[in-house]
């Protein structure tokens, strides 16, 4: 076991344009996957929490139950299989239909995979909001949809922010699984660099450091955002007692 740190540094500098492109793509996959995943997860999580109201018409009740069934199935499948397998399967399955590039497929797959996790986080977030909030919204005549959008989602997202943010860090790392369909991102670039000069240890050491820097920056960003979210509440207290 030996590692030549000097050579590792040299590799990083010489191949920086390749690494830099990989970094940018990895960030793109992580950000898109997390944000689109969150948007989809909000919808899926909300459908999974749809309350069955005895006042519902039979048609409404049928669609609510159908929606619950479909979303439960979705979460079951996408949380229960590796993203790498989802990537190869869906890429080849849908290629004749969409004629998509591996990059587009990569964005889609990381998003729908993340959505399954987000849906579960959002579901727990929705359940963490006091039922009195929903009752108060209903009592002033707000519809279920208005209640969700204005009252429940903002609180659910705030309550689960650390878990939601964690998905960004997971995605920075797990986007490398898209390598299975040859998507160009940091790990793909690392493989190219390593293969071209046969110095695996040094190049993968560089790669590990680069991932660590990315996840550290993401953590700092998330901590900062979390503090800011909490501060808005605290600032109001201060303003009003002054």
């Amino acid at each position: 076991m030996s590692i030549d740190f000097h050579y590792a540094w040299k590799q990083l500098i010489t191949n920086w344009p390749l690494f830099w492109y990989g970094i940018k793509m990895t960030i793109a996959f992580a950000l898109v996957g997390t944000l689109v995943g969150l948007a989809l997860g909000l919808v899926i999580g909300a459908i999974r929490c749809l309350p069955l109201d005895p006042l519902d018409k039979p048609v409404t009740r049928f669609f609510k139950q159908l929606g619950r069934l479909i979303t439960s199935f979705y979460v079951w499948v996408f949380r229960g299989t590796p993203m790498m397998v989802q990537a190869v399967f869906l890429y080849y399955l849908l290629k004749p239909v969409f004629h998509w590039s591996t990059m587009v497929a990569g964005f889609v797959i990381i998003s729908i995979n993340t959505a399954a996790y987000m849906a579960e986080i959002i579901r727990s977030g929705i359940q963490s909001v006091d039922v009195g909030q929903t009752e108060a919204a209903k009592a002033i005549g707000m519809t279920n949809f208005q209640t969700m959008m204005s009252i429940i989602f903002p609180q659910a997202i705030k309550n689960t922010f650390p878990s939601l943010g964690n998905q960004l860090i997971v995605n920075i790392k797990d986007s490398c699984m898209l390598n299975a369909i040859s998507v160009v991102e940091l790990f793909f670039q690392a493989q190219s660099v390593a293969g071209s000069n046969m110095r695996y240890i040094e190049v993968y050491f560089d790669t590990a450091i680069l991932y660590l820097i990315l996840t550290t920056l993401a953590t700092l960003l998330l901590n900062f955002t979390e503090k800011k979210i909490n501060k808005t509440t605290r600032a109001t207290i201060k303003d009003f007692s002054a």
Partner: protein, 245 residues
């Protein structure tokens, strides 16, 4: 007298427990109806059924003659005309005080933000909370929260407000402020149905007092009839502590 809400033969069970048995109940325009009785007698459930937060198993509820359980009226539209004030306030935790009062006006009544803000300030003034308009709702004391909750209900210009034990979660010093606001509203002619354990308040403001026991309205009448000359043994027993004070 013009009935706003009429409840006929209302029944509600939670599992095997029959909480409401064949309830007949009317809220007339301009009246203050209080519902008293021991815990578990079905008072809150009755109020929650009236606002459809619980769906009755049997019977009917009419609003100006329209059956609201039979789909003659949309639940959201109906609820926007029937305000509710909860024991636990239930102010929207992600909204400031004034936003709590504005959101229903903007989303449900489709008013402009400026109109809604002006109305919200007016109602906050009425409950003495205007200086807290921009505060976060989570920073207030219980009594302040409940006064904001009353303002929030008033902003919708409801025809009747249902109060579900509005002072039960407050410490004794806060109770007075909330009751004063409610007395003021009663004197202005607001139609109210109040579930309460505040007997003096019930005696002072009620046009009609209903005494509930084990899921039925055992006795109802004017304030004097119930408090000074109760007919039923159970009513006398329930009121004995209050009347002996």
């Amino acid at each position: 007298m013009e009935p706003i809400i009429q409840v006929n033969h209302l029944g509600k069970s939670f599992g095997d427990l029959k909480v409401l048995k064949d309830i007949d109940f009317t809220i007339n325009k301009g009246q203050v109806v209080t519902i008293i009785g021991s815990s578990g007698s079905g008072k809150s459930t009755l109020l929650r059924c009236i606002n459809l937060l619980e769906v009755p198993d049997s019977g009917e509820i009419t609003f100006h003659g329209k059956n609201i359980l039979g789909g003659q009226m949309d639940a959201s539209t109906y609820r926007s005309k029937v305000g509710m004030v909860f024991q636990n306030f239930n102010l929207f935790a992600n909204k400031s005080v004034i936003e709590n009062c504005m959101i229903g006006q903007v989303k449900v009544l489709k008013k402009s933000k400026d109109e809604a803000r002006a109305e919200a300030m007016k109602q906050l003034k009425a409950v003495g909370m205007e200086q807290f308009a921009e505060a976060s709702s989570t920073t207030l004391s219980g009594g302040q929260k409940q006064r904001v909750a009353i303002a929030r209900a008033l902003c919708m210009k409801p025809e009747v407000i249902l109060f579900d034990e509005p002072t039960s979660a407050l410490d004794p010093e806060m109770v007075g402020g909330v009751l004063d606001v409610m007395k003021q509203l009663a004197s202005e002619g607001l139609t109210m149905a109040v579930v309460t354990h505040e007997m003096q308040f019930a005696k002072d403001v009620s046009d009609v007092v209903c005494f509930m026991d084990k899921g039925i309205i055992l006795e109802q009448g004017s304030s004097e009839e119930i408090f000074d000359h109760p007919k039923e043994e159970r009513t006398k027993q329930f009121l004995s502590r209050f009347n002996n004070q």
